[in-house]
Structures are given as C-alpha cells and as structure tokens.
C-alpha cells in the first residue's frame, strides 16, 4: 500500500438569485454626458466581485459607448437611488438590470432627437462603441457629436429605472411559496490526495460547472468561481472558529487557518449559460453558489480515496487519522505498509 491515496468525488447544487422569499427592488439613474460619456448613479459599490465593471459594460452596451467612458457614482444614501444591499447574489441581477433599463431610457431619449435631426425613424438607429448610425443610410457620427446635437436641441438625455424581482413569502405552516424568480445550478468534481501518515488532504483539481445565466464578464465569473471554491476548500479542510465557554481560542490568523497559495488546486471552470427569461439582461449570478458544492465534493473524494466518510467539517488531519485508525481494513493496510517500509529501511541500513 502506498502512503498517499488519491480519489475523486462530485457534488451538485442549486441556489436562488437575489433576496429570498420577498419582492426585491433596485433603482438607477443614467445620463448620456458630454463627449459621449455617461454617468450612472445607483446605490452600490464594489465589494470585490467586479460589479462596477459589470455595470459599466451593461451601461456601455445599452448606450452605445465604451465601458471606460462610464462613470459610476458613489454609493451614498443621500445622493443616489436605492439599490439596497451588496449580497444575496443580487448585484448583477438586480442592479445590472436596473442600470440596463435606465440606460436604455436615456438612449431612447437621444435616439428620438437624432432620428428627428436626421429625418429617419428611431428604430433605424444603432449605437455601439462610441458611434451612432442609421441603418440603410450613410449617416454615422460619434456619440460625442450626437450628445452635442441632442443638447443643442434643448434635451438632456436622461433615464431612470427600477427593477423588480418577484419572490413570494413562504407559508408559515408548510413553507409553500415561490422564493425566487431565477435559480442557478452547479456541479463540481474534486480530486484529492490523502497522506495516510499525516492525515493531510491536498485538493489537486476542481472542475466547476456553473450555470450563471448570460455571462457579462466571463473572466469575472471565473474569478468568482475560483474564490468560492477556495473558501469552500477552507471550510472543508482547515477553517474552524472555536470557542470555549464563549471565549475564542482562534483569535488571530496564526490560530484560524486560511487557505494560502500552496493549498489551491488547479481550478477548471466551465461556464454554462442558461439565459434568464424574466429579465432584460438574461444574466443570473454566481457569487454565493460557487462555493456550495465544494466541501461535499471534497468529502466524497476523500471517501473514494481512503474509504472513510467525514460527516463533521472540517476534515482536519487529526480527524482523518482518527477515522483511519477506526477503519479496520485500512488500519491493517497501513500497519502492513509500515511494517514493509521498516523492513526495507532496515535492509538498506544493513547494507
């Protein structure tokens, strides 16, 4: 028997998008500004997931400009419309759609003015990446010029929107209800190596397939999956906040162990795009769902490798060793292996 044993496991998962069992809402304002730039104001800021870039992409796409031309206002309850909280895998879905609708309204104001100016129909107009043109004509100008024309006609191209997600509450007796209008699903496979001498588990590979709806920024989606997987790995194998009679014994990062660069598996992301039929962007989300299947996939892989099932997280080396000791067939295998190795070492030192 070898000292290290490998195995694989998988787990599936599901998750709901935006606030649970309630109506969720978010508002945004948009203005097409001088120079073909834009101001977007909504009550949100980055918590690291990349929402500012996503919103800039959404606004740019709707307005016909470039993401770097979009300025997003600060999240400030006295200066911006309510977009509520940064959590619940709701930012892309709630605020993304709200920004899309507000931007669309501002663009329509501009299109109406330019159509009148060019004497074409508004539905002939297209705008993308800083230019506006009319189909079936040679008319084409920069968005900067288009905004100047619009303002010259006395109109500031503005838009505002509120986006709603229609969740319903749960019945207090049987829980019946429609808590979300959008669901996502995921599956992860884990490959592990267990050191049967030390009890250490290394996760060598993760394959993570997640439905995110339409992916606005695929690299950003990967970043969320990779981060979620590593948080899941931390919870699976090492992290534990311990209290004794209410006093913590894990009062710093020397005691509360977190995954570092050496713990990270190769993470292979597969983005599955099942568009959301209920919302203009057709995107869903990935922030929270990414870490749901990681820990059970790792536990199932540990079982595949050594035949012991860890039902109490985290699967620390101490727990793995204890489980191996109590697992008789494995205990014998390890004893035999140790005996053989001792004999081999003895032989070597004798020669």
């Amino acid at each position: 028997m070898t000292r290290t044993k490998r195995g694989r496991g998988m787990a599936a998962s599901w998750y709901g998008i935006a606030r649970t069992a309630t109506i969720d809402r978010a508002g945004a304002w948009a203005e097409l500004d001088d120079g073909g730039t834009a101001k977007i104001v909504t009550g949100v800021t980055e918590i690291g997931e990349g929402i500012l870039t996503v919103l800039a992409q959404v606004a740019a796409d709707e307005l016909g400009i470039r993401p770097e031309d979009v300025t997003i206002g600060d999240n400030d309850t006295a200066r911006s419309p309510e977009a509520a909280h940064a959590g619940a895998t709701r930012q892309t879905y709630m605020i993304g759609n709200s920004v899309a609708l507000a931007s669309r309204e501002a663009r329509n104001v501009l299109f109406e003015q330019i159509a009148d100016h060019w004497e074409v129909e508004a539905d002939q107009l297209r705008a993308f990446n800083g230019e506006i043109w009319a189909l079936e004509t040679n008319l084409r100008i920069s968005m900067s010029d288009a905004v100047a024309i619009c303002k010259g006609r006395g109109v500031v191209p503005l838009g505002s929107a509120s986006f709603t997600a229609h969740g319903t509450g749960l019945d207090p007796v049987d829980g019946r209800g429609a808590p979300w209008q959008a669901y996502v699903f995921g599956t992860q496979v884990a490959e592990v190596e267990v050191d049967t001498y030390t009890g250490e588990v290394q996760v060598l590979g993760i394959w993570a397939a997640h439905d995110v709806g339409r992916a606005i920024n695929p690299r950003g989606v990967e970043g969320q999956i990779e981060g979620g997987v590593v948080q899941g790995l931390g919870q699976a194998l090492m992290e534990e906040y311990i209290t004794v009679d209410g006093h913590t014994t894990t009062h710093g990062f020397a005691k509360y162990i977190l995954p570092t660069s050496l713990d990270v598996p190769q993470i292979n992301c597969v983005i599955v795009e099942d568009p959301d039929p209920e919302s203009p962007l057709q995107a869903k989300g990935i922030g929270e769902p990414a870490l749901v299947p990681t820990a059970p996939a790792i536990m199932n892989a540990i079982y595949d490798a050594i035949g012991v099932r860890i039902k109490s997280l985290p699967a620390t080396p101490e727990k793995i060793l204890k489980a191996l000791r109590e697992h008789s067939s494995d205990r014998q295998m390890i004893a035999n292996a140790n005996r053989e190795e001792r004999a081999r070492l003895h032989e070597r030192s004798a020669t």
């Binding site: 800021t45 749960l170 808590p179 394959w207 690299r219 981060g227 906040y241 209290t243 660069s261 050594i306």
Partner: protein, 641 residues
C-alpha cells in the same frame, strides 16, 4: 508621548520626521507619511497585506518597529512605478483580473515583485511558495498566479512587453466580453482609499471597551475617570442613545452597546473618542464596569432544554426562528422505499476573514446630517435603523459605502456604525474607528455552525421517495441574519432534486457564543453538504454512479421545488454533463475505487506539494543542466565544441 527623530529614504525621497517612539514601520508609513497603500490586515505578520521593501528585502511592516528602520531605504507600493504608470507586475494583475476587493493586492504585488526580482525566471511552484505568506480571501489565488506568470515571462524577456496591454478583440457587444476591471489600476497601485485610510481634519480616534464575559448583568458603568483624562473628547454607553435602541437584519434585538447585560465575549460595552489612539486605549482602562456573571449557554441543543438560561427576554425558549417546509406525505414515501438511510452531519463555525478589518468614519455635517462612511454591505437598511436609534428623520442620516475590502456577508451587520454616529453627535467632530484583527474576530458574525439529522428513502432504481431533514444552528448571542439563513437553508435543504414527500425543519437558537450571521451561501452550503453526502452514500448502497443517481432525481423544467414552486428553467442536466465531461469522469459507483481509477492525475490537476519538493526538483534539474544560466551556457559551448 516620547518622540524620536527618524531619517529614511522612502520611495527615493529623503524623509526626516519626528514621531512617537512606539510606532511600527506600518504606522510611520500610514500615519506620518500618508502612504496608505500599505494595508494592515492582521497586525501579526500572518497576512502579508503590509509588505514593503526594507533595504531591498521584503518585510512585513507590522512586525518592524519604525525605529529599527531608521537609516534604511524603504520602498512601498506607491514607489514601484512613476505616477500614472504601472510596473509589469501591476499591469499583469490588471490584465488577468487578479484583484477583486483589492485589500490584499498591494502586499501581493510587493511579494510578486520580490519573487521576480530575486528570480526573474521563477517557475509556478516557486511563485506559489513566494506568495505563501500573503493571504487573499477573494480570488482563490488562481488569477494572481496567472498574472505573476505573465509578468515573469515579460521580465525574463520570454515575451514582449506588449502582451501586458493586449486584450481579446471586441465583438458586437460588451456583454460577454472580458473587459478589464476598471477599478484594478487603483488597487494594484494602492491608491484606492478604504475607510481606515481616510483622514479628516480634526478627526478623533475611537476605541471600544468589550465584554470579558459571555453572559453577565451589568451592575454599573463608571466612566468619570476616563472622561476626565486629557485628550478624551467623549465616552459613550447605551445611556447616550437618544432613540429606540436596537438593530439586526431581521429582528432588532441588538443594542449598539450592551444595555443591561452582555450576551457574548467581545460585545461592545462602552466607547471612547480621543485625540489619538493611544489616549483612547488608555482611557478604556479607566472605565469601571461591575458585572454580575450569569450562567452561560454554549450549546445549541442545551438552548432548547427546559430550564436553560434565557438569552433574550422576548424569546423565552431561545428560538430565533423555526422554518418548516412540508410536501407530500413522508410516511407514505418511507413506506414505499426499498432503502432508508439515516445519518447525522455537522459543520463548524467559520470566520469571513476578509482582509480589511471593520473600519469607519462618522461626522455631523453643516446641515446636521449624521454621516457614516464605512464598508457596510447594506447602507439602505443601516440608514433606516440608525435613524430610529438616534431619533432623527431619515434624510438627516446619511450612509456612504466605502470600498469594501472583502465582505462575504460579514459586513451586513451594523455592529459599530451606531457608536461612531453617537460619538460624532456628542463631539461634533469627525470620529474614526478601525478594528484590530482580534476585535474583528470576536465581534463580527460568523457562518452558522449546524447539525443536520437526515433520513432518506429510495427505491432500488435510485429514485428518492422521501426525505426528513432537520437542522439545528447556533445563532449565538444575537439574531443578526439567523432568520434568513434558516429560511434559505430550508428552501434549498434537499438539494436540486424533485422529491415528492418531504419534511424539513430548520431552527436557529440563541446561545452566548459569538453571533452567527450572513455568510456567502446563507445556510445553503451547510444544508447541501449533508444532502450531497447522503446522495453519494445512497449511490454506493444502490451501486449507482454518483452522476447517475443525481440525474435520476434532478429537477427539470416544470419540476415542483421543495416549496412547490414550478420551475420555468432548470439547468442541472447541463451542468452535470459539463462537469462530467470536463473532468473526464470514469463512471462507477462510489465504492472506494480511488486505487483503480484511470481518470486521476490528468493535465488539469496540480502536482501534489511536499516539503522541499521544489528544491529537490530544481537541484536535480540543475544537475541535468536544465536550470541555471551557467549550465545552459556550458551546454551551448559543448555543442559548439
């Protein structure tokens, strides 16, 4: 306070300053030189966010007394590139999307820079080792590795510098396009200001007195001696709250400072705002609190027993929330089953460990608007709650969300913003409070530890006929997000499978442990850990491949969820197929077949990592003349000869 004169060269500029003798290098850089790109994450040398170069060597500046750096040449994140420019490492971080919240990123860029300065040809294993002292909580490190490898290829001359600026061609839409993160340049250069980096004129520093007891009645608090100290602007307790005290995401059961009793170790009892941090800390020791210790409750099951200590008077049975979900007839479902599995699962309490500890600034503006700037994940709700607490109309309370250095749900609770607002109102001066890591650990909410009792009935063909799922979670001392976490856990409980008969109960209870609250997945992972373990145990018992048993039971379009919602879309079939294909999964029942599997150790896995493995590999590589420049040259000349 005793002073010392320091002379250093910082970012190629000579600095001569008089400063306090107790300062660490990080304090000197951040406070005296305003170089706030160097972040404090733990104050103990564990996280690496404060990494700087001292005489060319990578050092954690929280571990070095400023006096020790006297005469040294210091390089911080601000000094790596000229204003408006980025180094290859910074550009590569921008290109790959290696920064998310950005708080660890200055330290990470410094560590990566150190790696490539010391070995411009560092391989991936060496890169990983050299970044091993820097913690990132957002990215899973993967995009960081990619960035350092790209920077390495440019620095080593293996790739043209142009690759750092190249992006994939734009198609017909920005949706689906890998637009570079717009906030990355501000993060990789350390220029983005988080709440702890902000300085306002005339600003006071706050420190918080925290409970040493898990459960105790507060007999008296005497703040007079602290208030009389030079440099102390105000001391606040629950008595200073002008309105209706109480906050929480679902139930407003938590006062902004302990009122009448403390319910967990680390709960805020009083706070001091003073001219500087040291005075504020000294003043804390002058506050006298008399406690009468009460019996503590430290276990979720104990909390439900008759006669258990009561944590909140409004909840005599200690139950925060119970969520039931019922569908079909479980008795009938179990009667139809060929196999019934029953087991127990548990998960631990988990810390968010965002690299940015809680921090905030509050002030009262000229129009009497009480303003709080903090990395709050829910300023809308915080504004509502604070307005009630300080008895002001909603438009006289303003919350500004500063850049969040990682949240994961841990910054949804208003655990310190109320104290800041009170002190600002009492002094009419700006007040700042920056948590230490230790404070963040004991005062902020955690992931709910959970116990699940599971019963699953199945037919021989793998179909689930019934599930009974019961979860008990320790909510700790305050309600925070417990109600919502229990609701989500119940809704998602039995996983993405259509089950005709089920009985689900999730309960959270009060104890005197550190509170549990919102944490990425909100109960979803605790519940599905149990379900996905059961699915594999069932697959083993029924001799089914784990993908197969899930396909047999999976939700499809039109399926009724556990809460009897008909699904309009469902993609489980597609993600199962995608994961199975991508991982080259070898079919078979999960019967401990690791030893015989043929799908292991593929090119899409990393190498296993053992102590000294890289060095051993490099030594043997060098012996074979594959690594060092010298041996390569020898090889060339041999060829010429």
């Amino acid at each position: 306070m005793p002073k010392m004169k320091l002379e250093m060269e910082v970012n190629n500029r000579k600095v001569v300053k008089e400063t306090d003798t107790h300062k660490r290098l990080i304090d000197f850089l951040r406070e005296d030189l305003n170089l706030t790109g160097t972040k404090e994450g733990c104050g103990a040398g564990e996280c690496g966010t404060c990494s700087v170069f001292v005489d060319g060597k990578l050092v954690k500046s929280c571990l070095m007394p400023a006096a020790k750096a006297n005469g040294a040449k210091i390089e911080t994140i601000e000094g790596l590139a000229k204003p408006g420019e980025l180094t290859p490492v910074q550009k590569a971080f921008h290109k790959t999307g290696a920064s998310q919240c950005g708080y660890c990123i200055p330290g990470m860029v410094m560590a990566a820079t150190a790696c490539l300065r010391e070995n411009p040809k560092a391989g991936i294993e060496e890169i990983k080792e050299r970044l091993g002292g820097n913690i990132c909580r957002c990215t899973g490190y993967t995009k960081i590795f990619e960035a350092v490898e790209i920077a390495r290829s440019v620095v080593a001359g293996e790739a043209p510098a142009g690759v750092l600026d190249e992006d994939e061609p734009l198609g017909e839409s920005y949706i689906g396009h890998n637009v570079r993160r717009l906030d990355a340049p501000s993060k990789v250069t350390g220029r983005l200001k988080y709440a702890a980096d902000m300085k306002l004129p005339d600003m006071l520093q706050m420190q918080v007195l925290r409970s040493p007891h898990a459960h105790a009645r507060i007999v008296s608090i005497d703040t007079s001696e602290a208030e009389a100290m030079d440099g102390v602007a105000c001391v606040i307790t629950a008595d200073d709250v002008p309105g209706k005290d109480g906050f929480g995401v679902f139930v407003h059961d938590q006062p902004i400072m302990a009122r009448g009793k403390v319910r967990h170790v680390g709960e805020a009892v009083a706070a001091v705002a003073a001219e500087d941090l040291v005075t504020a800390r000294r003043a804390l020791s002058k506050i006298k609190v008399e406690y009468e210790v009460l019996p503590g409750l430290f276990d979720a099951e104990e909390a439900l027993k008759p006669g258990a200590p009561v944590i909140h008077d409004y909840a005599p049975g200690n139950v925060v929330k119970h969520i039931p979900v019922r569908k079909g007839d479980v008795e009938k479902g179990f009667a139809e089953a060929d196999l019934i599995l029953e087991d127990d699962f548990s998960t631990q309490q988990v810390e968010h460990a965002y690299l940015e500890p809680e921090a905030g600034v509050a002030y009262v503006d000229a129009d009497d608007v009480v303003t709080v700037i903090s990395p709050s994940q829910n300023i809308t709700h915080h504004r509502h709650m604070l307005a009630d607490i300080i008895a002001k109309p909603i438009n006289k309370v303003r919350f500004i969300m500063s850049p969040v250095g990682g949240g994961f749900g841990g910054k949804e609770d208003m655990i310190y913003q109320g104290m800041l607002a009170l002190a600002a109102m009492k002094t009419h001066r700006p007040v700042q409070l920056n948590f230490t890591r230790e404070e963040s650990l004991i005062a902020s909410a955690k992931r709910h530890p959970s116990r699940v009792h599971y019963r699953m009935g199945l037919k021989r063909d793998g179909r689930i006929t019934a599930v009974e799922f019961s979860m008990l979670s320790d909510g700790g001392a305050y309600g925070m997000s417990s109600e919502g976490v229990m609701r989500k856990a119940a809704i998602l409980s039995c996983g993405p499978y259509e089950i005709e008969n089920l009985k689900v109960d999730t309960r959270a209870v009060y104890t005197n442990n550190t509170p549990s609250g919102a944490f990425r997945t909100f109960g979803g992972m605790q519940a599905q850990f149990a379900t996905e373990s059961m699915m594999d145990m069932a697959a083993e018992a029924l001799d089914l491949d784990p993908f197969e048993i899930r396909r047999i039971n999976m939700m499809k379009i039109g399926s009724l969820t556990h809460t009897q919602q008909a699904l309009k879309t469902a993609s489980l079939d597609r993600v199962l197929d995608a994961a199975e294909k991508a991982s080259r999964w070898e079919k078979g029942a999960p019967k401990v077949r690791g030893a015989t599997r043929q799908d292991l150790d593929g090119p899409d896995t990393r190498k296993s990592c053992t102590l000294g493995a890289r060095i051993a590999a490099e030594v043997s590589g060098a012996e074979k003349g594959q690594r060092s420049g010298a041996s390569e040259k020898t090889k060339d000349s041999e060829r010429v000869a």
